[in-house]
């Protein structure tokens, strides 16, 4: 039914017309949403995708007027046509606070991204749910208690967990509680803002299956916001792509997947390494989105577009039909032209990783590495339980696992940032203790670690120059080599970046500075802890390509830690799959991903978003769901 192939005229339930939203600021208003049309039909799943800052969340929250100043709605209309409201719909932009209060949650519910922050940490789950029900529905005490039990079991949580506090629940369970609360009043529209982004892939898959089973049963419509286009291509009926505050392309799942005709959509599509099919070189979208202050004339994507012409500077960005139900803001480029273009439709050129010789000498070895943490009351938790592997020069080894699997701890033990509780670390065959005070600095000449979050790993008060010259001097090099370092990580021209503060740089640029700092030690081993997970999807591949280039040029041994097995396949020579503190499977990247032998690896691969499968598993799973 979600395919709505049978229903001849789908009824619109939420109509957004020409909506514009701006954030007022003294330095020029940031016009985050510009003249966007979006219609959600009954029972439909519409996906909203784009890079961060493209306006997708602003559009969704603005359409129910949940944004707080300095955000203001500057134009357009939003109307809601639910079964339980007047026949001609509710004009959301003209509604009084009281009307809106009745509309929100009862008619239009929202599932927020961060379930931890949306739940009150000092209230038990039962009390929070009772509160929410009491605030919106006229029910007796008994009815409310019954409803809470009914809701929590509906999302697959045993009723005994109602007495738990939020911190006693796993991330997945917390998100289920949020979903249960959102569905409590049987809303007709549910807005989901990255509901699974903070979760591990396996849990993400479970929750999505849950959402779809509920959707089929209760018949609500979903506006699903995510930066993960490959996920949308699995679950959404229709996909709207946003860029710089505008909708640039919209079409059905199949149309976007196979015949997308806007270069930006293609860029997003080629930002995700695939788990199936040939291993090909991908490009992502170099550059970053434009500044949204003031009026943008013409197409905002021009600086990043490979197909830009002079005419692009003046087009009005109106969506023009490409085929039935498929519109695009780019009148110059067709799907055929994009297909023919080698960089966007990746030619089966093998990734450099495939063609590598495998004679790298072992640099760093971990033998039966262990780390346990002591909790309160003398209970010890073994985060790393006997892990052995070796890193070879010129090779990229990927350590794949979900959060809590101990993969980051392994990197920190190898870097000497933490004291191990058992096992050996060997550098060039000699047993060493990286965490010892005496050997630490000389060890750092060989082994450097890059941290996950470039927004946290650079001191906000120091310039790029300070960060890099300090690192150079500490390793006995001349501070003047600064420009060379910036050049190595492709931050050119150097004079533009030398004296910048971290807050003046984009996430990708910061991560490049962080990598440059690691390179200042001229290391032989680079430990990269989720180096791209905090970056926008469009520039992740750029960053991986940089690491790959450095590996080739400097003959680095790289440990790439990630939760994303598809990127490990794209990028690494060898994959180690970690689960519960142990390595459960290891092997050459291609062999391991194509023919996994351990159950956990299979689960991991099956859970990864796969647009080529068109959500087959999810939709198949739906039929068997209760």
């Amino acid at each position: 039914m979600a395919e709505n192939a049978g229903s001849p005229a789908p009824e619109p339930i939420l109509k957004i017309k020409d909506l514009s939203i701006a954030y007022r600021s003294g330095a020029g208003d940031v016009r985050a949403v510009r003249h966007v049309d979006l219609t959600l039909h009954r029972g439909e799943v519409v996906g909203l995708a784009g890079e961060s800052g493209c306006g997708k969340s602003t559009l969704a929250y603005g359409s129910v007027r949940l944004l707080r100043p300095p955000a203001v709605i500057t134009g357009g209309s939003v109307s809601y046509h639910g079964r339980r409201v007047e026949t001609d719909g509710v004009d959301v932009l003209a509604a009084s606070p009281e009307q809106l209060r009745r509309l929100r949650w009862r008619e239009i519910a929202i599932v927020f991204q961060s379930a931890m922050n949306s739940l009150n940490p000092v209230l038990r789950v039962r009390d929070q749910m009772l509160d929410a029900l009491g605030a919106h529905l006229a029910l007796t005490r008994e009815q409310r208690h019954d409803r809470v039990v009914e809701l929590i079991e509906m999302v697959g949580i045993p009723r005994t967990r109602l007495a738990s506090y939020p911190h006693e629940l796993s991330g997945g369970m917390r998100q289920r509680v949020m979903i249960a609360m959102a569905l409590a009043a049987e809303p007709e529209v549910v807005i989901m803002d990255e509901p699974t982004t903070a979760l591990d892939v396996v849990v993400q898959r479970e929750i999505l299956a849950e959402i779809f089973a509920l959707k089929d049963r209760l018949g609500f419509s979903v506006l699903f916001i995510t930066h993960d286009l490959s996920l949308l291509l699995e679950i959404a009926d229709r996909v709207v792509i946003m860029y710089a505050g505008r909708a640039v392309e919209s079409g059905t799942r199949e149309q976007i997947h196979v015949r997308s005709s806007h270069p930006y959509t293609r860029g997003l599509l080629t930002s995700f390494p695939r788990l199936r099919g040939p291993r090909v070189k991908l490009t992502g979208i170099p550059g970053s989105p434009p500044d949204l202050r003031g009026a943008l004339t013409g197409c905002p994507f021009v600086p990043r577009c490979r197909f830009s012409t002079d005419a692009c500077a003046t087009i009005d960005m109106a969506l023009t039909p490409v085929e039935p139900a498929h519109v695009s803001a780019c009148p110059f480029v067709s799907a055929e032209r994009l297909d023919a273009s080698p960089a966007s439709a990746p030619a089966p050129a093998p990734v450099a990783a495939l063609a590598r010789e495998s004679s790298g000498a072992v640099v760093l070895e971990a033998a039966d590495l262990r780390k346990s943490y002591r909790l309160a009351r003398g209970v010890a938790v073994e985060a790393v339980a006997g892990v052995s592997f070796e890193l070879r020069r010129g090779k990229i080894t990927a350590l794949v696992g979900e959060s809590g699997s101990g993969k980051t701890t392994v990197a920190r033990l190898l870097a000497g940032q933490e004291q191990r509780s058992g096992g050996e670390i060997r550098l060039d065959g000699k047993v060493i203790d990286p965490a010892s005070r005496r050997g630490f600095r000389s060890y750092k000449e060989t082994v450097q670690m890059v941290f996950q979050d470039p927004f946290a790993s650079l001191n906000p008060l120091h310039t790029v120059r300070y960060h890099l010259t300090r690192a150079l001097k500490l390793h006995g090099r001349d501070g003047a080599e600064l420009d060379g370092l910036l050049d190595q990580v492709r931050l050119s021209p150097p004079e533009q970046y030398r004296d910048a503060y971290p807050h003046e740089l984009s996430g990708g640029q910061r991560q490049r500075v962080a990598i440059a700092r690691a390179l200042a030690a001229a290391p032989r081993v680079l430990l990269a802890d989720e180096p791209v997970s905090m970056l926008d999807v469009s520039i992740r591949l750029e960053m991986l390509d940089l690491i790959e280039e450095l590996r080739a040029r400097l003959d680095l041994a790289v440990l790439y830690i990630t939760h994303d097995i598809a990127s490990a396949r794209y990028f690494a020579d060898e994959i180690l799959v970690m689960h519960g503190g142990e390595i459960v499977e290891r092997g050459p990247a291609e062999a391991l991903t194509q023919a996994p032998s351990h159950d956990y690896t299979r689960l991991l691969i099956a859970s990864a978003p796969d647009p080529d499968a068109f959500g087959r598993q999810l939709r198949a799973g739906r039929r068997t769901a209760p």
């Binding site: 330095a27 020029g28 709605i73 996950q452 910048a500 003046e504 740089l505």
Partner: protein
């Protein structure tokens, strides 16, 4: 978004040029909260008076008029009147400012230095040193400060401000130390500290160049708070007579005014000016503290601004209100 200050670029470079975003100096000055500006201005006046006061005082503050037994009200020659013994009140104020301000600043410097050293060491080292230093701070926190001060200062020689400042500092550092320790604990776990270790930086260097600069706002606020505490306490002590009564300060002025029955004689010009100046000095420090708080905590700033920009009808915007609809943006052109 709001951190960006340069005018909008119609077609910005895809590379996001770093220079565009750098705020100008004038812009930075404009962003300093009004509270801080007012507080700083008043404080500067006090400091100037502290420096030049004794020189511009029209009379010797201790010079008495033979035979006078009652305070005289303000006249042309004595702008703020005289005390019961004929001493010029204005001259006493001008000379006494120095002692009060110096004592406050001196205590602020010593106590803040103590709290920074102890707070950062406790926070950064953790474990046993942290337990020991925290215990020490807690012990000092629960010492009954005023009686202790009276006892100790009663024994100390009353020469200059230094002994008093040291005693006040020893009793005044724990508040700052506790706050700075907490902040250090949080900063210690940040990635940039781990990254500095990864580069091979020493612990000392990490404390002074990575962690401390991030605590400047907190340290400044703690300094201002300590100065306020020192001024109020020293005035109170002098009023009680526990200080060098042969020198002039706001506290000793109040002490003599009390001793000379100024209130009973209705000689407001004798007791009110030093009281008002203490209040004014305290207010300037409190304003400065609030301002520094706003500067260091952008959320306070945007909360203040949100109340101004977002209007729902005639009253200011509240968190539960819907997003305002503004069909015409004043600055919008297209």
């Amino acid at each position: 978004m709001s951190a960006l200050a340069a005018p909008a670029d119609p077609l910005p470079d895809a590379q996001l040029p770093a220079t565009v975003i750098t705020a100008g100096r004038r812009e930075a000055l404009r962003r300093i909260p009004v509270k801080a500006k007012v507080g700083a201005a008043i404080l500067i006046v006090f400091i100037v008076v502290a420096i030049i006061g004794p020189w511009i005082a029209p009379y010797d503050p201790a010079a008495t008029t033979i035979g006078q037994a009652l305070p005289h009200g303000p006249t042309g020659s004595h702008l703020l009147g005289t005390t019961a013994t004929g001493q010029d009140v204005l001259s006493q104020l001008l000379s006494g400012t120095r002692s009060t301000v110096v004592l406050g600043l001196l205590t602020g410097v010593i106590a803040t230095a103590l709290s920074v050293v102890i707070g950062t060491s406790a926070g950064f080292l953790g474990g046993l040193p942290d337990d020991g230093l925290s215990l020490l701070a807690n012990v000092f926190l629960v010492l009954p400060a005023l009686p202790l001060l009276v006892v100790i200062l009663g024994y100390l020689p009353h020469t200059g401000e230094l002994p008093t400042a040291i005693v006040l500092s020893v009793l005044g550092w724990p508040w700052g130390a506790r706050v700075i320790r907490a902040q250090t604990l949080s900063l210690r776990g940040r990635d940039f500290v781990a990254a500095a270790r990864e580069s091979g930086e020493s612990s000392v260097r990490i404390i002074f160049f990575e962690i401390l600069p991030n605590e400047i706002g907190l340290i400044a606020a703690s300094f201002v708070g300590t100065v306020l505490y020192a001024i109020l306490t020293s005035v109170a002590l002098a009023f009680l007579g526990v200080s060098n009564l042969s020198s002039w300060s706001y506290g000793t002025m109040l002490y003599w005014a009390q001793g000379g029955n100024a209130v009973q004689l209705n000689a407001w010009w004798w007791y009110a000016p030093p009281g008002i100046l203490v209040a004014l000095l305290g207010m300037s420090l409190v304003l400065l503290n609030f301002g520094l708080d706003e500067l260091g905590n952008p959320r306070l700033r945007s909360a203040a601004r949100a109340g101004r920009t977002g209007r729902a009808g005639s009253r200011s915007w509240r968190p539960a209100d819907p997003t305002p609809v503004l069909r015409e943006l004043p600055t919008e052109r297209s």
